[in-house]
């Protein structure tokens, strides 16, 4: 019998550039908080999500290193990595361990420390989320694919470059209210269009900033609930899927991994997106439009026309403005939705609804994951 899984507590640091802190110190900062609030007496497993620990931090088996540093050994630990969606993958694993009865309480840590190296080194390693033997070695990087997709989108749906500035403008505005966001300033249409070209037609302000982040979630079974003082939110389901590489796709404007994951989720749960708080993976603004269209929130080629009306999507500022500390991003998204649907609040932000849906993916939807949360009394 599958058991229920709850989020008992969360904690995060502002996404930022922490030049004077190591990944261990950044983790320590968030962990004390969650253990004190979580009220659990023991932890069965610790799962660490990180993308570039081997290349940027030169560290393998980072979860064991963290157990040793944090004084958490002998608790067993894992490191999970599935590209940019690693955070939700870690939660998926934690969810499964509790649902199956193998564990009652699991600490999930998302940690990414990128500012150890300049941008070119970070980008070189980030590009390895694509197929190294086929794509990366030919100098294809994630923004190159986003640029191809954006060009095709503009051509096919006759949308101007200017029209597609609505997403970053909105995200920067949203981030003003999120105390954990990396970029807390407004941008104008002109500022987006005049920012540096990353890969024509993608501008600097169409994409996420490089930053460090650390966020933690404490997951527990029903057995742990009565000991918990903070508010619990139920993890209803996590559904995930993979897709074909971009160069083998019949349709480059479709995100099939997301489509499949969503279909699977809908087969088990009724989801009314209008009454659900959504966090989507907007690593490039063009992906935000495609995700909104794939989820059926907007019709094809029309997502940009309704961005201004969206009051339940990426209130955090999204990857665009909250930031995208790769392996920690999924954990941030879940922490934010948890905070907004529970009475905890994200700064002053609260969402007056029961459900939250988090989407995380890697590259141009090479894999996609969806996590559905429900507020329970």
């Amino acid at each position: 019998m599958v058991r229920d899984v709850y989020i008992l507590s969360t904690s995060m640091v502002k996404v930022d550039r922490y030049f004077n802190k190591s990944y261990k110190e950044l983790t320590l900062d968030v962990i004390a908080n969650v253990l004190n609030n979580g009220g659990v007496e023991y932890i069965d497993y610790v799962i660490v999500s990180t993308l570039l620990s081997d290349s940027i931090l030169h560290q393998l088996d980072i979860s064991t290193m963290l157990m040793q540093y944090l004084g958490l050994s002998p608790i067993p630990s894992f490191r999970v990595e599935t590209g940019e969606s690693s955070g939700l993958a870690a939660i998926e694993l934690g969810f499964s361990l509790i649902a199956s009865g193998k564990a009652d309480s699991i600490l999930i840590i998302g940690i990414e420390k990128l500012t150890e190296y300049p941008t070119n080194i970070v980008n070189e390693n980030y590009s390895k989320i694509l197929d190294y033997e086929v794509e990366t070695i030919r100098n294809i990087s994630p923004p190159d694919y986003a640029a191809l997709i954006m060009k095709e989108y503009m051509k096919r749906y006759k949308v101007s470059r200017e029209d597609l500035t609505v997403w970053p403008i909105k995200m920067h505005e949203n981030a003003l209210k999120n105390p954990y966001a990396q970029l807390r300033f407004k941008v104008s249409k002109e500022k987006v269009l005049n920012s540096i070209t990353i890969a024509e037609p993608i501008k600097l302000l169409d994409t996420f900033p490089i930053g460090d982040g650390s966020a933690v979630i404490l997951l527990g079974s029903e057995n742990t609930l009565r000991r918990v003082s903070s508010e619990a939110v139920k993890v209803l389901h996590i559904s995930s899927s993979t897709s074909q590489p971009l160069y083998l796709r019949d349709e480059i404007l479709g995100f099939t991994a997301l489509r499949n994951a969503f279909k699977r989720l809908l087969s088990r749960f009724k989801v009314n997106l209008e009454e659900t708080l959504l966090e989507i993976h907007d690593s490039y603004s063009i992906y935000a439009y495609l995700i909104l269209e794939e989820l059926g929130i907007a019709s094809k080629g029309k997502a940009y026309t309704m961005v201004s009306e969206l009051s339940n999507v990426n209130l955090s500022g999204g990857l665009k403005a909250r930031g995208h500390p790769f392996g920690a991003t999924g954990i941030y998204q879940v922490c934010e939705v948890y905070s907004m649907i529970s009475s905890k609040g994200l700064g002053e932000l609260r969402y007056n609804g029961k459900y939250g849906l988090i989407h995380s993916m890697s590259g141009p939807d090479y894999n996609s994951r969806l996590c559905l949360l429900e507020k329970v009394m």
């Binding site: 030049f19 500012t115 005049n194 920012s195 540096i196």
Partner: protein
């Protein structure tokens, strides 16, 4: 930042600037041309605010440029060069790795051997250190005048973002007693830490840098720390200054750090020269200061904050005296050098800087 020994940042105007001079080579290369050459987005030149940079000609180097600026500084000060008791050359691009540049410049200007001379290396801040050392020598009475020079033919690896700004130029200041000075030092502070934001290892032809790390924890942290310390120790606030001049690796950073410290744009713009001549490294803040001295009215208070990677900043509060207009007229001005220019292509620039060379 507390002091355990009894030191003072207050100089009470006992020592000042007697004369100054600058040199900027005539040759310019447009930043957009460098950007196109290496495939940098053109918007980058706008976001850094760099339009063109000055390039030393084939017959110019740190010594020739530093000598010219020093000659003008002495002439403008109207002093006997033989009364200059110390010559400091702040540079990170010495023609000789071992052998002082300062002796070449000193002997080209001064007849007597009774003088001290040395090169100072602290990335772009060595010129500022030269001014501090000069102040100390003059105040102690060990020398009558000291010459502090900042001069560089800055190196940058072709294709590195640094190449958009790294340029050539020099500034020199004769530091002397109050009665001979046309602008006096009210106070000076310094703030130095071991911060490896930009460096060049021995035998490496070009420096390397930590990109964004050169900003926030390096440039901004050190300049703000030195400036705030100066405000605190002199009991001054940004509103008390008429001008603020900062080290300017590009046009954007000095505006940004000025804003962070609370200066309005109009107090910053007069001292900004980098967008039109590039980052002259040790000349950078000092050419900016010269430009401000050439525009300032008597009684004006000027804040100058240097920055050098590695990293450190000197902050100075300078008050301009009566008669500045006369002293300005006694030599070529910064504006003359800004207007005196001829454009070269990227190819001519790399040839004259010996980035490409032919085997003999």
């Amino acid at each position: 930042m507390g002091h355990t020994v009894n030191t003072s940042s207050r100089l009470e105007g006992k020592v000042g600037i007697v004369g100054w001079g600058v040199y900027v080579p005539i040759w310019r290369v447009k930043a957009i041309e460098i950007a196109r050459m290496w495939g940098f987005p053109e918007e980058l030149t706008k976001s850094l605010w760099i339009e063109e940079k000055a390039i030393a000609g084939e017959d110019e180097d740190t010594v020739t440029m530093g000598w010219y600026a020093a000659k003008v500084a002495i002439e403008r000060g109207g002093i006997d060069p033989n009364e200059v008791g110390a010559v400091f050359v702040g540079t990170e691009s010495k023609p000789y790795a071992v052998k002082p540049s300062a002796t070449i410049i000193a002997d080209a200007l001064i007849d007597t051997g009774v003088k001290s001379a040395s090169d100072i290396e602290f990335a772009c801040r060595a010129g500022g250190e030269g001014i501090r050392d000069s102040i100390a020598l003059v105040m102690s009475g060990m020398v009558k005048y000291a010459l502090a020079i900042g001069s560089d033919t800055a190196q940058a690896s072709p294709g590195d973002v640094l190449e958009l700004t790294a340029s050539s130029g020099a500034a020199a200041y004769v530091i002397g007693p109050e009665q001979d000075s046309i602008a006096v030092f009210e106070g000076s502070t310094v703030y130095v830490t071991d911060t490896t934001d930009f460096w060049r290892r021995d035998c490496s032809p070009y420096p390397r840098h930590g990109e964004i790390f050169t900003g926030e924890p390096a440039y901004f942290h050190h300049i703000i720390s030195a400036a705030k310390l100066l405000f605190e120790e002199l009991g001054l606030k940004p509103g008390d200054f008429d001008y603020a001049v900062f080290h300017q690796p590009n046009g954007k950073f000095p505006l940004q750090v000025g804003r962070m410290l609370g200066f309005p744009k109009e107090k910053l713009l007069p001292g900004i020269v980098t967008p039109w001549i590039g980052n002259t490294y040790n000349g950078s803040a000092l050419i900016g200061l010269a430009k401000v001295l050439e525009e300032a009215k008597p009684g004006s208070r000027i804040l100058v904050v240097t920055f050098g990677s590695g990293a450190g900043s000197d902050a100075f509060s300078i008050i301009v005296k009566e008669g500045i207009e006369e002293r300005v007229k006694k030599g070529p001005k910064v504006i003359d050098f800004l207007e005196r220019k001829r454009y070269v292509s990227y190819g001519e620039y790399v040839k004259s800087r010996r980035i490409i060379s032919k085997i003999e």
